[in-house]
């Protein structure tokens, strides 16, 4: 069993190095010395399963932004408490309660999965805890379920997909097949695209929805091939995105343009290799954005975590920026909720994605970029939609 010994020793060393770099170590320090208690920030993120990498990137981005600003919120030290949400919607409320009532956190940051977000929203609407959604794009969170204490620094699923509809028509596509996982994010993205596409005069040949998080796509790829569409629009993310793009190419479908929200290639582009060549995506960020903010952010992230930043890291980074501005305005008094929320609403976030503000429904008003994979690189082709705000249908705020 020398094997196992070697493994565990290496793992321990590796883990030690990570903690030393100030990246890992979710062990909350349990000694509050001094008179100012720490600000408690709860992470409700996936640290296992298909979205584990996304949860890690959000956490990293958040901590990086905080470190760059002296590691404090409103002058107070910060204590992190992380809960693995397992991307399991059924456990969403329970896991949120662990943080909100169990640990009495001041802020909840997360989650990735839209289903978990809806569970979280349900809880914080009752407790009034300030929540910053760092990824999940469920429209309802800043739509019918919007609330003064619920903010989002990412996107709505509609926002990342709607602009692609017009792009598809402009590129001469008349018949498009759409496909995604059968869950909130997938359905909202696909419907957002279909809305933009039909508005511009296109026709949807078929909408295919497969159970989440299944990754066995062969049957549906054969179906797509037999439908002979002009284009295919899909929403997939994480390991499912990696697998879909590879399977799509292997099934001989490369001649049909593949489109989707940027999650289709973000963070998995290298692993997709040649299969991703030519894939068109729309997103509120692109790794290749040539702005001073993005360049310095990416360099700092690389230095801190020895890996490349992605859109999820940006969203984590901006979540910390939003809390930093809000807590700065109330000088660290997290109890002054009304002033804190007012300050967060007025925040202007200098994001690596470009500067953005929040809409009345607390969702970013942001540019959506059109990107394409060329020579293994994500290239920014242009802006698909300028300062796009989610319609926030059903939100009574503002």
């Amino acid at each position: 069993m020398e094997d196992c010994k070697g493994f565990s020793r290496r793992a321990v060393l590796r883990a030690g190095a990570v903690v030393a770099a100030g990246a890992g170590g979710f062990v909350p320090t349990r000694f509050a010395i001094g008179n100012t208690a720490k600000v408690k920030v709860g992470f409700l993120l996936p640290y296992s399963g298909t979205y584990a990498g996304l949860g890690e990137a959000i956490t990293n981005g958040f901590k990086l932004a905080l470190e760059e600003r002296g590691g404090k919120l409103g002058g107070r030290d910060v204590q992190f408490i992380a809960v693995d949400d397992e991307s399991n919607p059924a456990k969403g409320p329970e896991n949120t309660n662990k943080l909100v009532t169990g640990e009495t956190v001041d802020f909840v940051v997360g989650p990735v999965h839209s289903g978990v977000a809806l569970g979280m929203v349900k809880v914080v609407r009752e407790t009034g805890t300030i929540a910053v959604i760092a990824n999940a794009g469920a429209g309802a969170a800043t739509g019918p379920l919007c609330a003064p204490n619920i903010f989002r620094t990412s996107f709505t699923n509609w926002q990342t997909a709607f602009p692609m509809g017009k792009v598809a028509v402009d590129r001469g596509m008349k018949n498009v097949v759409t496909m995604s996982w059968k869950y909130a994010a997938g359905e909202e993205a696909v419907n957002g695209f279909e809305q933009g596409f039909t508005k511009a005069g296109g026709k949807v040949a078929k909408q295919i929805l497969v159970p989440f998080p299944q990754e066995e796509f062969q049957a549906n790829l054969t179906e797509i091939a037999s439908l002979k569409p002009d284009g295919v629009f899909v929403f997939f993310a994480g390991s499912g995105a990696l697998k879909f793009v590879k399977d799509y190419a292997a099934a001989g479908l490369k001649s049909i343009p593949l489109m989707g929200p940027g999650f289709l290639t973000d963070g998995v582009l290298k692993a997709q290799g040649d299969a991703a060549e030519g894939v068109l995506t729309t997103l509120h960020y692109a790794d290749a954005l040539d702005t001073p903010e993005n360049t310095s952010f990416r360099a700092a992230y690389r230095k801190a975590f020895s890996k490349e930043a992605d859109v999820y890291a940006v969203q984590g980074y901006d979540s910390a920026q939003l809390l930093f501005q809000g807590m700065g305005a109330v000088k660290g008094d997290a109890g002054a909720k009304a002033e804190l929320i007012a300050a967060m609403e007025k925040a202007v976030i200098k994001s690596p994605r470009g500067t953005f503000t929040l809409s009345k429904a607390h969702n970013p008003v942001q540019d959506i970029y059109l990107r394409q994979v060329k020579g293994g690189q994500e290239v920014v082709v242009g802006v698909a939609d300028k300062a796009l705000a989610d319609p926030a249908i059903g939100c009574k705020m503002g």
């Binding site: 069993m1 497969v210 054969t222 037999s226 990696l242 292997a250 099934a251 998995v268």
Partner: protein
């Protein structure tokens, strides 16, 4: 109903079924022969995939990586049997479930520590990275055909080993009457260790050869494990033949369910399981 469309869907289903069989065969061996419910079986699938990914990057060849990952997976399997599983033979299934569930958590966390939480992909070897055109729109990836071939050869090989060789005879005998086999001078401890290692190697092999068509990520073995249990239960515990039929049934049911009844796609597999168990409560061959 287009003939080619139907044919390719059958191919898809058979290929999926063959891969499931490769993972499930090890599970049914351990389950049927040693009476151990091994929840960590999916973890060996994940381990095989990670080893293949890591070795393919170091050696630059997927073939070499797959061959190298086999003995490592087998050795780790043997070690786990000797250290932990050996204590469970005379205990009840609940203890086994508890221990092997703990192993899943340890494996998942260990892979995350060693390889990170990112999703990894392995490129299809250049020689196999093409598709056979069947009609103007439909084609079939060669790598998947090769995969099916490998799985089919292994299935036949395993069947022959279990039914026609001395080793297979010991294994079957050890399963039905352990004390008698020990009395005849066969080292049952070693025999069971080897069977467990073999099961781990089979799962590892399935993980390793499927890396080009799947994503390598922590926890990737969990969903596979559930399907494997379905396959084993349908086929009848301990039966290689049953596991093969069960896997084919599940692969085809899942594929056709997705195309013809997409709204029920998430439970076609369980519907098939329920139907089989109503008809044969102990599985097809038990």
């Amino acid at each position: 109903m287009d003939f080619w469309f139907f044919l390719i869907q059958v191919l898809n289903g058979v290929q999926y079924g063959l891969l499931l069989f490769l993972v499930a065969s090890g599970l049914t061996l351990i389950f049927g022969i040693m009476g151990i419910i091994n929840l960590a079986h999916g973890a060996f699938y994940m381990l095989g995939a990670y080893l293949a990914y890591w070795l393919a990057r170091t050696t630059g060849s997927l073939g070499a990586a797959v061959l190298l990952s086999l003995p490592i997976a087998a050795a780790i399997g043997y070690g786990i049997e000797a250290l932990l599983v050996r204590t469970l033979y005379r205990r009840d299934h609940l203890d086994q479930v508890l221990l092997t569930y703990g192993l899943i958590l340890i494996f998942n966390e260990a892979t995350r520590m060693i390889w990170g939480a990112d999703v990894h992909g392995v490129a299809v070897p250049a020689a196999l990275n093409w598709s056979i055109r069947l009609t103007d729109t439909l084609s079939y990836p060669v790598y998947r055909l090769m995969l099916s071939g490998v799985c089919a050869v292994l299935a036949v090989g395993m069947y022959l080993v279990i039914t026609r060789t001395r080793f297979g005879m010991w294994v079957r005998a050890g399963a039905s009457n352990r004390d008698m086999v020990a009395a005849l001078g066969i080292n049952v401890k070693l025999l069971f260790g080897v069977v467990f290692a073999l099961g781990a190697a089979l799962a590892g092999l399935a993980g390793a050869i499927s890396t080009p068509i799947t994503s390598v990520a922590p926890g990737m073995g969990d969903s596979v494990l559930i399907l494997c249990f379905v396959v084993v239960v349908i086929g009848g515990v301990g039966s290689i033949k049953g596991a093969f039929l069960g896997a084919m049934l599940i692969g085809l049911a899942d594929t056709f369910g997705k195309v013809f009844a997409p709204d029920f796609a998430s439970f076609t597999v369980y519907g098939v399981m329920a139907a089989v168990l109503l008809w044969k409560p102990r599985g097809l061959f038990s």
